[in-house]
Amino acid sequence: MYVAVKGGERAIENAHGWLAEERRGDPGLAELSVAQIREQLALAVNRVMAEGSLYDPDLAALAIKQARGDLIEAIFLIRAYRTTLPRFGASAPVETGRMACDRRISATFRDVPGGQILGPTFDYTHRLLDFKLAAEGEPPEAPGHPAEPAPAPVPRVAEFLNREGLIEEAPRDDTPPPDLTREPLEMPADRALRLQALARADEGFTLSMAYSTQRGYARNHAFVGELRIGTVPVEMEIPELGFAVEIGEVTLTECETVNQFTGSKTEPAQFTRGYGLVFGQTERKAISMALVDRALRWEELGEDNVGAPAQDAEFVLYHADNIQATGFLEHIKLPHYVDFQSELELVRKLRREAQETREAAE
């Protein structure tokens, strides 16, 4: 129950004033600029863009600053902002096969054409704190000998298995996809809707769901067939011109898993695929998305539903959005005085009745 109550204006105003002061921190230290956040906390910016579902590094950096580094609060700010924007249209599907790759690895084929390109990765670092970063210094030069650029575009790993017919194909299809920002997310959700929900899903939730499949809850034996990070152009048909132009360029992370599949009533034994595609350099999220996508495909592949959480589309999709989740969770801290008053009355009444029954029996 909601009842409007007045009286908190001055307290709220002072709380917001203090928030601004705390956000700034020690005024003796230089203030962070939005550009510094964008450039130096780029992976936080990427996460806010991915889960805020709006690609704009400057806005994501601003949101992080405003939210004092609370990424879910920053995502909330971005989601609120995006509702104010008119929709100009939809892009042509991005062609990740044409990606200019910063990173491209395959865990299934060592000698994959195009090579294993590590890119700017945390992998193989020792995870020891680097105290040199605590001291101010010159920007480091990218090390390494000058190398011939990788041939572009780098071919897809799935294509090699496709040639032998050992992996399910993803045939081209141009069905217009559903959009959960326009129509409420309802079950049953087809794969396009699931992928949209997963692309903006909370990274922690998606990671845990994916991890649960690895630990045996709907195990699907995933290998990272290919992980690529890089830029792709965004092309859109301009309605007033009647032709398509590239209107920008975005960094994406794409993960394609190759999953063991022993065959079912409807499908032969072959490898199956899970797919992850996420804004920015966000590989933990993209791999997680691919594993969860694969688990949710049990029905179309004729697999058994073993009752695992990651197979339950309703459970996964209705709990994956951190803004929905935090909105409902955090609202319980707001005044519920009247609700609670009625609960209090009820408990008192029950106790009174129990006492009376006991006294009557004695």
Binding site: R87, I117, Q196
Partner: protein, 151 residues
């Protein structure tokens, strides 16, 4: 506001190049080469969103990946030529400069602008790409097999 344009590959190419230029770069090159002509807004710069799509498995059915901010505008030169811009982000000055170049590229000024604006942009884009690709290539793994103790 629909113009009857054929899909002109040259125009597609220059609009794409202008849309992807770094902040302020189109305006700087344009102003270094010519005084800006007078124009009237057909559509003043307006920020909005475009829904980006991907394909399941990279090649299959499309899905909605998330939105991107885009600014668009259209203007008319005094001679009646119309220039359009659709540019990623929210930068009005960049959209205006891109629409002006788009309009001027359809006039007699085209050759001059091609040399003074588009060609430098293209070279800068290619250099930036090559630099990044070289950094990526330097992280490419060269596998070698250790001697095996077979005999």
């Amino acid at each position: 506001m629909k113009d009857t344009h054929q899909a002109d590959p040259d125009r597609q190419a220059w609009m794409s190049l202008l849309a992807k230029a770094p902040e302020g770069r189109v305006a700087a090159l344009l102003d270094a080469c010519t005084a800006r002509p007078a124009f009237t807004w057909l559509r003043a710069p307006e920020t909005g969103a475009v829904m980006l799509r991907g394909r399941a498995g990279g090649t299959g059915a499309p899905f909605n990946l998330g939105e991107m901010t885009v600014i668009r505008c259209a203007l008319t030169l005094d001679c009646g030529t119309v220039g359009h811009a659709y540019v990623q982000g929210r930068r009005k000055a960049d959209a205006e400069a891109a629409a002006l170049v788009d309009a001027l590229m359809q006039t007699e000024a085209a050759d001059g602008l091609h040399a003074a604006v588009l060609e430098p942009l293209r070279q800068e884009r290619d250099t930036a790409r090559a630099t990044r690709a070289a950094k990526a290539a330097a992280t490419k793994v060269d596998f070698f097999t250790m001697t095996r103790g077979e005999d």
